[in-house]
Symmetry: C2
């Protein structure tokens, strides 16, 4: 049971490795050394080897890593080799945009969009039906939904999250600007756009401050 806990920092880097390897694969690259990869990705070769060795020895001394093999292995680690049935809660602009996004190729399949507005009954996005919230419980159970994407108004998020948890949902991808409280066995991943924008703005100001003195 006690596989040593992988640090968050490592997990965060995996999708980026996966992306770079995918591109190499497309370009017909067969093998890569940690050294070359480190140059491409602007990280240290040491870090790449350490990160990968958390999960097993994927390389070979004197050769490096086979791109296809490593790509697939990281895919398995990330779980993108499996299908993840998903629903979007909130049929507004953002929910719409996400429904149009091509997450399928990584295994994330959007099965429905849920909303409360009766005007949306019978509509669909790319064939993904918009359903009313009173169908939620049945649908989640029937379609074995794993992930719910929360793109609804802030004041309705908390109750909706609770409701989803009661349905047995495994994971919440939360776009609302608010920290959710859920049981330990439910995974929450936040996308706080405002936070991201604020970090951007901090970095603009801090860059300006650093360079103010130089232009006398």
């Amino acid at each position: 049971m006690e596989e040593r806990q992988i640090s968050k920092a490592v997990i965060k880097r995996l999708p980026r490795y996966y992306r770079y390897l995918g591109e190499m694969l497309n370009n017909g690259v067969e093998r890569i050394s940690s050294g070359e990869l480190s140059t491409k990705m602007q990280v240290t070769a040491s870090q790449i080897r350490q990160d990968l060795n958390n999960f097993g020895g994927f390389g070979q001394q004197g050769y490096g890593y086979n791109v296809k093999f490593l790509y697939d292995e990281i895919g398995k680690i990330l779980g993108v080799d499996k299908k993840h049935p998903m629903i979007i809660i909130g049929g507004g602009n953002f929910g719409h945009a996400l429904a149009n996004y091509d997450f399928e190729k990584n295994g994330f399949i959007t099965k429905a969009i849920f909303d409360v507005r009766p005007s949306l009954v019978g509509t669909d996005v790319r064939g993904i039906p918009v359903l009313m919230m009173d169908e939620l419980e049945d649908f989640v159970a029937r379609e074995h939904i794993e992930i719910a994407v929360l793109t609804l108004p802030k004041d309705r998020v908390a109750e909706t999250a609770d409701r989803l948890v009661r349905c047995g949902i495994k994971a919440l991808w939360n776009f609302a600007h608010l920290d959710l409280k859920v049981p330990d066995d439910v995974v929450v991943e936040n996308v706080h756009l405002v936070d991201s924008l604020m970090q951007l703005s901090y970095r603009i100001s801090s860059y300006e401050n650093e360079h103010k003195k130089e232009e006398v």
Copy 2:
């Protein structure tokens, strides 16, 4: 010039402090101690005090922190006390959704949406005009645009980023799944949704693996 470099980890936490303080302010809370805040936010009081002291002594021994004062100070640090003129490049679903988002209250003012599709000429989102890409250079200069939001197809992002850099843009908020190469004086903040979703999926699998053995 050499104000000691603030670590990325600290910057990442600031917007969250800002949000919690904003809520307290709305609820009429006047003062808060690092201890109380630590309970609310689920971080250590030590960390809060360390984080804040990177920027100055905002508190008072025996009293704690004045909520309004601290809120304003963090706002200044993040630069949300200033106006940041912004444009969105890409009038698709995502660009649309972002144009509808209420970033104004934090100082981020969307001035225009740019696209290449002639069918969008003359349209607008909440009064924000959709303009054609050939007007880009003039508009950025005239309106002193600081931030460009990149929500366009992957294959056109790199050239567009270059073009924006040549216009003298200060910051790119990049939603494309791709690492941008820009000069040192241009700030890039990435929102890689696919990466976020993959981390979510990793955590689902890893939770399942950890608990597999228990259900014999």
